[in-house]
Amino acid sequence: MTTSRSAPGSVRPSISPSAALATYERLVRWRAAVLVALCLLLLGAVLLDVSSGSSAIGMRDVLHALLWPAASERSTVVIVWEVRLVPAIMAVMVGAALALAGAEMQTILNNPLASPFTLGVSSAASLGAALAMILGVGVPFIPASWLITGNAFLFALLSVALLQSLTRLRGAGVESLVLFGIALVFTFNALVALVQFVATADALQQLVFWGMGSLSRATWGTIAILAVVIAVTFPLAMRAAWQLTSLRLGEERARSFGVDVKWLRFTALVRISLLTATAVAFVGTIGFIGLIGPHIARLLIGEDHRFFLPASALSGALVMSLADMASKTLIPGVIIPIGIVTSLVGLPIFFALIVRKLGHA
């Protein structure tokens, strides 16, 4: 067989291996550049986010307070560091965590509609929070101030453990995993409704607000915890990047390449549950980010997971950061719960990318 013969159906002249290599290297450099650009955009978004708020502090004062806090006006430093920077950083962390979880979820379930909430993780967290708020039922030995968060986290983790054990009973097919997950969503939602039904009006209001998601509960402590979870899960996800990429070619094919798909799916689910449970426990239910972050990344740079995973995290963080800014500026003087805003901010970006993609195809 000759190597100069062109491919079937192709009308293009054949190319040399070195030319194909050069093309691929350009592609890799382009993706690295996209990642850098996303980082810069995120930095800009965070600065804008910190600069926006009810008290009029300009970008220049904000930068000054961030870089030289000792030499800045005391009140400005307090507002920037304590009032604005904490939710701004939390927005980045939560966006990155949920989008990273969503990216892995979409790959291991081979389903572009999957998100961290598909399998009932957030519904379980809501149930945990509801039990703590309304019935005062919670994990023993946890300080009262952490009751809601601790409960939400525990229930989210339990839901994944339940899912894992259920799928182990009946062969670990993707379809059964999704079906069990959907069943769990309905079960937990029904239980939440049951708890709401018996709740007092005050407790009910508290629960509904918790469900909308809010960054106002964030502290440097919770940021640190989420940062640790990301710092542990992200490198592990990146280590599995090639295996996850090969899984996109089909489960059986990935297994024929020597990938233990069951183990890959299990470890990915553990990472997903940790990321999602931590994020949901601290800020409540924030949908859409886990769905849209991976989609933006996929449209920008494809599904080579070495780039897809970090790009998903950065895209999620970026959208979340913009959403936080929008939540403060859409209605002057009012901070709209972030969970409401994420969809409103994310949708236009999503549509723009899809339309651009359709234009190319």
Partner: protein, 263 residues
């Protein structure tokens, strides 16, 4: 490799899925390197299960020895050093280029005697594409390939790991005549490099043209084996498929199998 060409010994192989055994105590004469073995048989005869049990993709018991290596004793990742499997279809939803898909096949698990460095992987993947004549598809998305291109890209993913045993599940399904020829020609050439190639084919005339050795399966058991002229007789085909056939030798020497009716 010690003494003579590498062989694949299959004996007492039982394979199947949870609660449903498909292959029963299956033993065949050793398959040889350099030859294309074709599996044929009616639907649900166990062709795909046999193919997958060779690749370690379905639970199986019995003995599988490839050139002195006990395949049954290997973990999936170790087995992937020796055996490659090409499924029937390549998913179209993945946002990956042909070259990326081949690199990921190479890097999904460690490969003996391959360092796995970035540059090394790229060059090896490109060499596989070049070998199959699809180098110009390297940066095309796998979702946008035509049927024939998809089969060749799929074959490249299996070939890049330099398997000694290459298993193919209906590599020519849904291909037109030109692409059928092209894929089978490539498969034959890959066997010629010293590999054992085992392929499931539905088209008996195609099988007769390309196979060095044919294995006819029926209800999970061996119905016949041998060169095409011995395996494809009206008697065997009537017994296995339940049809009346004529097997004719064309002027060029190839076998032509015509179905006249139900038997």
């Amino acid at each position: 490799m010690m003494g003579g060409p590498m062989q694949l010994h299959v004996s007492n192989l039982c394979a199947g899925y949870r609660g449903r055994m498909v292959l029963h105590d299956f033993t065949i004469t050793p398959l040889e390197a350099g030859k294309v073995t074709v599996l044929v048989g009616p639907n649900a005869a166990g062709k795909s299960t046999l193919l997958r049990s060779l690749a370690g993709l379905v639970p199986a018991t019995g003995s599988l020895r490839l050139g002195g290596i006990d395949l049954m004793g290997l973990r999936l990742a170790e087995r992937a050093n020796h055996v490659a499997f090409m499924p029937q279809d390549l998913p179209q939803g993945a946002e990956l280029t042909v070259l990326e898909s081949v690199i990921s096949a190479l890097k999904a698990s460690p490969l003996d005697g391959f360092g796995g460095g970035a540059q090394e992987s790229r060059l090896r993947a490109l060499a596989a594409l070049d070998r199959l004549g699809i180098l110009d598809l390297a940066s095309d998305g796998i979702g946008r390939l035509s049927g024939g291109q998809r089969q060749l890209a799929s074959l490249a993913q299996a070939v890049v790991r330099a398997p000694r045993l290459l298993t193919l599940d209906e590599p020519t399904s849904a291909l037109d005549l030109r692409h059928q020829y092209q894929v089978m020609h490539t498969v034959k050439a890959l066997a010629g490099e010293g590999r054992i190639v085992v392929a499931v084919l539905h088209d008996l005339t195609l099988a007769a043209k390309w196979a060095d050795h044919v294995i006819v399966l029926d209800q999970g058991r061996l119905a016949a084996e041998g060169p095409p002229a011995e395996a494809f007789t009206p008697e065997i085909l009537r017994r296995v498929y339940g049809v009346a056939t004529r097997v004719e030798r064309c002027s060029r020497g190839g076998l032509h199998i015509a179905v006249d009716g139900l038997a």
